[in-house]
């Protein structure tokens, strides 16, 4: 079967291992396309896509927009800060107004968990979740898993440590779902205040010591401290966080093995990851960004064909 089981991409939780593998196989082809002198294919030339961003984003929005343009789709961008949302329009009204202009797909980022799921029950267009609050960020998890597969040959059986602010991270949750579906072992590591209380029930190991986590893993996926989502203090100071949980080149060099360092961006250099670690040979952070375009092209392509 070369068809996704879902009409929308709301979260990794809803899709199957076969779906993920189909997306990866398709992304392999698109990766070849975007490395050609002419990086464009006409597949989505009769499709219009709206990028609706209620929250700030650089990488994800640019990556989606490039992916859409490389597939020859027509693209409209919308960001909440410059729109009528400020005047009190509801989410459903805003999106219905956009769809009234004949848009086929919606890529949405929203601060409220479940916003794309709510929308998917009320509108006909395909929806791709580009991050909903602290819930899921499916395309990031797909590109992370795709990058691991590219670097290490496969994801199955690999040990992956997710380190940092797990509590506020949609990337962490989507990563756990995606990597577990592909057969990896997962460990989460961070200060106790930034680990969800029942995270162990997802079948992941919990570790408080970052050095032990690095010792255990093949891949360290380092997450950003999301200060914008923290209304109370979860740790005394950034400096203290960095002292206990920040990863430096020295720590990586002291391990008696090669591990891969990933980060979904944006990096707070010197907080969760020191500059020399982020720029070291361990890091595949920029490969992740490149793969992001290919993976998003694959998702758009496969979802668009499902509307036929």
């Amino acid at each position: 079967m070369s068809k996704l089981s879902q009409k929308h991409l709301l979260g990794i939780k809803d899709i199957t291992r076969e779906d993920i593998e189909l997306i990866f196989e398709t992304a392999d082809n698109f990766k070849e396309v975007i490395n050609r002198p002419i990086k464009k294919v006409p597949s989505l030339r009769d499709v219009t896509i709206a990028n609706v961003f209620f929250e700030n984003s650089t990488r994800t929005r640019l990556s989606f927009e490039l992916a859409e343009k490389r597939l020859s789709a027509d693209v409209v961008n919308f960001s909440a800060s410059t729109s009528s949302v400020k005047k009190g329009e509801t989410l459903l009204d805003t999106v219905n107004n956009i769809l009234a202009m004949k848009v086929d797909m919606v890529v949405m980022r929203h601060a409220s968990p479940g916003a794309p799921h709510y929308l998917s029950r009320h509108i006909k267009a395909n929806i791709i979740n580009a991050g909903d609050g602290t819930h899921e960020h499916p395309t990031q998890a797909l590109l992370d898993a795709f990058s691991i597969r590219e670097k290490l040959g496969s994801v199955a059986g690999k040990k992956i440590a997710i380190i940092g602010d797990i509590l506020h991270s949609r990337v962490a949750l989507s990563n756990i779902f995606a990597l577990q579906k592909l057969g990896a072992k997962i460990m989460v590591c961070g200060p106790p205040t930034l680990l969800p209380k029942f995270i162990g029930q997802l079948g992941v190991q919990v570790e408080l010591d970052v050095n032990k986590a690095l010792q255990w893993c093949d891949v360290a996926n380092v997450l950003r401290i999301q200060l914008e989502r923290q209304q109370i203090k979860y740790f005394p100071s950034l400096r203290e966080y960095s002292l206990y949980y920040g990863i430096t080149k020295k720590m990586l060099d002291n391990l008696k093995k090669e591990i891969v360092v990933m980060h979904p961006g944006p990096i707070n250099r010197g907080v969760e990851l020191s500059s020399d670690a982020a720029d070291s040979s361990h890091s595949i952070i920029l490969d992740q960004v490149e793969n992001g375009v290919a993976v998003r092209m694959a998702v758009l392509y496969l979802l668009a064909s499902a509307t036929a």
Binding site: K3, V33, I38, V41, P42, V47, A304, S305
Partner: protein, 180 residues
């Protein structure tokens, strides 16, 4: 389901040899010519022709594979999306004579997509089309082959089935099938 044999193993070998001779007639030493097989099924014929030509000319001719999936015009009109295959064109096609190779020519839409896909790799000096089976009177676009293995009169309700040993079949056989 009725099946009629169009080509068997022996006849296929004769046909491929003849196609090779025709190619040599037009391209002599193949200095400026490259072969491109079309994914997914045209590549077997392209490999067959490539093997024969290498033997006759005693020199290697560039052989590539081209996938047309992302350039098709029936995207979103199909029930199940076509699955993409690998593009492998490890040479420059700029200013070269390209021979596109496919097994069956039917509506011509795949060839149209192939020409568009090929342009992404450069501007060839000339493009020719070689097909094993030409299904006459079924064209939906003004496209004609330059080299034809066998021309067959078919109805659009019929189907041409190509079974090659290279694809894992027991014998080389090409069938015309009536779909009921």
């Amino acid at each position: 389901m009725q099946k009629k044999l169009i080509l068997d193993s022996d006849l296929l070998d004769i046909t491929v040899s003849r196609l090779c001779q025709e190619l040599i007639e037009n391209h002599t030493d193949f200095k400026e010519t490259v072969l491109i097989g079309m994914q997914p099924r045209g590549i077997y014929l392209a490999e067959h022709i490539h093997r024969n030509l290498t033997k006759i000319l005693k020199r290697d001719i560039p052989l590539g594979y081209l996938d047309t999936t992302f350039h098709r015009d029936d995207f979103r009109r199909r029930e199940i999306p076509a699955k993409a295959s690998e593009n492998r064109i490890p040479f420059i096609i700029e200013e070269k004579k390209v021979v596109l190779v496919d097994d069956v020519l039917f509506t011509g839409r795949t060839i149209r997509a192939a020409m568009e896909a090929m342009i992404a790799f450069g501007r060839p000096a000339k493009v020719e089309l070689l097909v094993l089976i030409d299904r006459k009177y079924n064209r939906e676009l003004p496209i004609a082959p330059d080299y034809v293995g066998k021309a067959v009169n078919t109805m659009s309700t019929q189907k041409v089935l190509v079974e090659l040993q290279a694809q894992g079949h027991k014998h080389n056989k090409i069938w015309l099938i009536n779909k009921d």
